[in-house]
């Protein structure tokens, strides 16, 4: 069963189509899908269509069996600029999604407290976003989406412009969340190391209908934490870079049609280096 199915999708902004006739599917065992590609190829457009913020000009997307028609709490989005509500406290921001679901206040507060502790935000629960650093705001943005334990998280370059410590903390927390809750995630990123560390597969958009869907590793997500300490990460990044550079000519990954289960799909195995 595929958790993500894109069928002949075309979409764009301001009358300019950037994704044309794209079809692909991603199986359930791929928990985190990284989306990469040069600027302007449609990464954010694809994510906007997935979120229901942008209507496609044709085609459809199904995420976890649900056809995307409009924004939904079952696909919360984490934005690059966090987009916190400045009039709500950190705790209020985090609880917002549960409030929309009508969850009682005491349960909301309890779940928010757990997340605040995990994200090391307990000390600023009653602060407003204007009182926080950029890294703290992004942690709140991630916690605000994670609290819903939704079937799918959409992440638009959420770790950009963060210092290394905060970025690694958030990456680890997101991986832990995915593993614990069994959710799926789509992560738009420019960072190869981030894609290798977090994703099970990388979707490389090349503009229009062209793309490559590259499986990254069969190492389970939580066990990849050890990569940070050794050379595995650098090797894996190098292999992914080569795969991305060489993929279009090899003919074993898709143009207009692709699936991780397709025979001959490339695998980049960092542990085999």
């Amino acid at each position: 069963m595929d958790w993500l199915a894109i069928d002949r999708l075309s979409a764009g902004h301001d009358g300019r189509i950037v994704i044309r006739d794209l079809s692909l599917s991603v199986p359930r065992e791929c928990r985190i899908l990284a989306v990469m590609g040069a600027s302007g190829v449609g990464k954010s457009t694809l994510l906007s269509v997935m979120a229901g913020h942008l209507r496609p000009s044709q085609g459809s997307i199904r995420i976890c069996g649900e056809r995307v028609e409009e924004p939904s709490g079952s696909r919360p989005m984490v934005f690059q600029d966090h987009n916190l509500f400045p009039w709500k406290t950190v705790s209020g921001n985090i609880q917002f999604g549960l409030k929309c679901l009508g969850v009682p206040a005491w349960i909301r507060a309890e779940r928010a407290r757990e997340l605040l502790d995990r994200m090391r935000l307990a000390g600023v629960a009653q602060c407003y976003p204007s009182q926080l650093s950029g890294g703290m705001r992004q942690r709140v943005g991630l916690a605000r989406a994670m609290i819903l334990r939704a079937p799918c998280l959409l992440l638009d370059e959420p770790f950009n412009a963060l210092d290394t410590d905060v970025r690694e903390l958030l990456q680890d927390e997101l991986v832990r969340h995915v593993v614990e809750t069994g959710t799926h995630a789509v992560l738009v990123t420019h960072d190869l190391a981030e894609a290798v560390y977090m994703a099970d597969a990388v979707l490389v958009l090349r503009g229009g209908a062209d793309f490559d869907l590259l499986p990254v590793s069969e190492t389970p997500l939580p066990q990849r934490a050890a990569w940070r300490a050794g050379t595995m990460m650098a090797d894996a990044v190098l292999r992914l870079r080569r795969a991305i550079a060489g993929a279009p000519g090899d003919g074993d990954t898709g143009h207009a049609e692709g699936s991780l289960r397709r025979p001959g799909a490339r695998r980049v195995e960092p542990e085999s280096v």
Partner: protein, 249 residues
């Protein structure tokens, strides 16, 4: 903080001193000394009608601003639920906005008679436009990213209105309320001068007819102090409600 309070007070004291010097140097009927005006204010407050007039005018301003706020709230609610509504109402509003509130006084008196009703109607007209302009600007500046974020977290229309749109425009509404209260004071004095049984405007009118310049100054100063007090009170509310903006009230 000290400068914010002390410098305006120093400015007022300086203006009073300058006024006193001018009054003693020129010795004009039209410029009584500040001490005489202060005495007249105390005398009128305790033994004359200044207190009652100030009370009556304050009530009319409050009523007029409340009516203006209610009208604006209904329009904003409609515009929040259906955005083209804001453009539709902006036409007639922009056409009537340049008309000074005092121009509506004959109509108000014909419709409501000489009395507090007409004055309240004029205050409502005067207070409505700045409030609407401010709130409409707030409505246009509700950030699309906040709406997208809320919708992607599962917010429906009611939650979007209560938790995103209204908090976004609240600072604009409070700022507009300050402006509209100021306009309310302009309007109430003008309306009461045209015809009202009581109020600061009527006091100013009566003092000028009696050529009682000292009393005239006492009424004018009282109007200024009442308007200033309202503005400071609303400023405090604006600051406390907008504390999330990090001190930018």
């Amino acid at each position: 903080m000290h400068h914010e309070v002390l410098l305006p007070i120093a400015g007022c004291l300086l203006a009073a001193a300058l006024w006193g010097v001018c009054a003693s140097v020129f010795d004009m009927v039209l410029l009584p000394p500040p001490s005489a005006v202060a005495m007249a204010m105390v005398e009128q407050a305790f033994h004359g009608g200044l207190g009652e007039d100030a009370w009556a005018s304050s009530g009319r301003v409050l009523a007029g601003v409340c009516f203006a706020f209610s009208l604006t709230s209904v329009l904003v609610l409609a515009a929040a639920l259906w955005p083209p509504f804001e453009r539709i109402v902006s036409g007639p509003i922009e056409l009537t906005r340049p008309v000074p509130p005092i121009a509506w006084t004959p109509l108000a008196i014909m419709a409501l008679g000489v009395g507090p009703g007409a004055a309240v109607a004029i205050v409502t007209v005067g207070a409505f436009f700045p409030l609407w302009l401010s709130v409409a600007r707030g409505l246009r500046e509700v950030r699309k990213v906040h709406i997208l974020a809320a919708r992607s977290l599962g917010a429906g229309h009611a939650r979007l209105l209560a938790d995103v749109i209204l908090p976004s425009i609240l600072p604009y509404a409070l700022h507009g309320l300050r402006l509209s209260t100021g306009f309310g004071w302009f309007s109430v004095v003008a309306a009461e001068m045209m015809g009202a049984p009581s109020g600061l405007g009527r006091g100013i009118q009566m003092s000028s007819l009696n050529l009682d310049v000292t009393n005239l100054y006492a009424y004018i100063l009282t109007t200024g102090i009442a308007g200033f007090a309202c503005d400071r009170a609303l400023f405090a509310v604006e600051r406390s409600v907008s504390h999330w903006r990090g001190g930018k009230a």
